[in-house]
């Protein structure tokens, strides 16, 4: 009986070891995802939380709650929350990579919330069709170059223009984000594949000022 158990346990130990080894090989040669690397990358970048996937309203609400809880006593909470909602809904409405089911059509993207000693950073990323990238770039450059007074005027102009069109709010989000972050916005476009460009948008909110 004892011997039988010993043999059996050893066999399962050997099996576990073999599986571990196979996993290690699979990760090394790129068949399996390297989660440790993703974890390390997120930790090193001070990411408090992140989401990648179809960004639906339920997920947005939950992440919004995380921000509210984390920054409950912070006077910049409402600005940060507002920026986060606009960026998330930008992905939801305008990402060109979409998850389409019978009763929903949701944009796919990635969003991260980062805290360092000096600042909070919200970064969003999603795929856009190559041919749309230039227009998007010009719109953001245009907004980024404006003074606070010009931004206010531009916002009012866009809002009255958009109220007449059946848009979900395209141009307004970036202007609002730019105003809330006092112009602290940046972006980068990078080629993804034959169809898509990866659009990364970064907003920083100073902790002190």
């Amino acid at each position: 009986m004892y011997l039988q158990n010993f043999f059996f346990n050893n066999q399962s130990l050997c099996k576990d070891y073999c599986i571990s080894y196979l996993l290690f090989i699979s990760i090394s040669i790129g068949i399996l995802m390297d989660l440790l690397n993703i974890y390390r990358l997120m930790k090193e970048n001070d990411i408090l939380f992140s989401f990648k996937g179809a960004l639906n309203q339920e997920i947005l609400v939950e992440m919004g709650n995380q921000i509210k809880t984390h920054l409950s006593m912070n006077r910049k909470l409402k600005k940060i929350f507002g920026i986060f909602i606009e960026l998330s809904q930008n992905i939801m409405h305008y990402s060109d990579e979409r998850e389409i089911t019978q009763n929903s059509n949701i944009g796919i993207g990635i969003i991260t919330f980062t805290e360092s000693e000096q600042e909070y950073t919200i970064t969003s990323g999603n795929l856009v069709f190559h041919e749309k990238a230039d227009d998007l770039k010009h719109r953001i450059d245009n907004i980024k170059a404006m003074t606070a007074a010009e931004l206010k005027e531009h916002y009012n102009e866009m809002i009255s223009r958009e109220r007449n069109a059946e848009s979900k709010g395209a141009g307004l989000g970036f202007i609002d984000i730019c105003r809330k972050s006092e112009g602290n916005i940046n972006y980068i476009f990078r080629p993804y594949d034959d169809i898509y460009t990866f659009f990364q948008f970064v907003v920083k909110i100073d902790k002190v000022n």
Binding site: K79, G82, I85, M92, N156, I159, R163, G169, L172, I175
Partner: protein
């Protein structure tokens, strides 16, 4: 005409429009997936109500709203201004938490060019 009451959700405000006394109120947070869908019945109710020539006092007590909700809020404000232009009695109360500069400034921006009566009213947190 029936009272319009919509319970607040995690992403939409409470709406309480009372046709008996003309007290209309929208309060809370507003960032629905589709603002146009959420506000369409509210705007339709208001248009119908205005056609009865009532005295309207509309109160906004918003905590947060996204940019697409702000379009709908401006549509509602424009309806009242239009009613006022045609001789209707209407006023807007824009309430903001006393330390909330963003909501206060937005209220100012939304109402500064109107000729109907608009009050910006601070309140302290409960």
């Amino acid at each position: 005409m029936k009272r319009l009451f919509i319970t607040a959700t995690k992403t939409t405000p409470e709406v309480d429009f009372n046709p008996e006394n003309g007290q209309l109120k929208i309060s809370g947070e507003s960032f629905p997936e589709n603002s146009a869908d959420f506000y369409a019945p509210i705007i339709a109710w208001l248009q119908n109500y205005i056609s009865r020539n009532p005295s309207i006092s509309l109160t906004f007590k918003m905590i947060y709203f996204n940019t697409s909700s702000s379009k709908a809020i401006l549509d509602i404000i424009a309806l009242l201004q239009d009613y006022h232009n045609k001789g209707g009695v209407a006023e807007i109360n824009w309430m903001y938490q006393e330390d909330d500069e963003d909501i206060m400034e937005t209220g100012l921006e939304f109402t500064e060019k109107l000729s109907l009566e608009c009050k910006l009213i601070p309140y302290s947190e409960q």
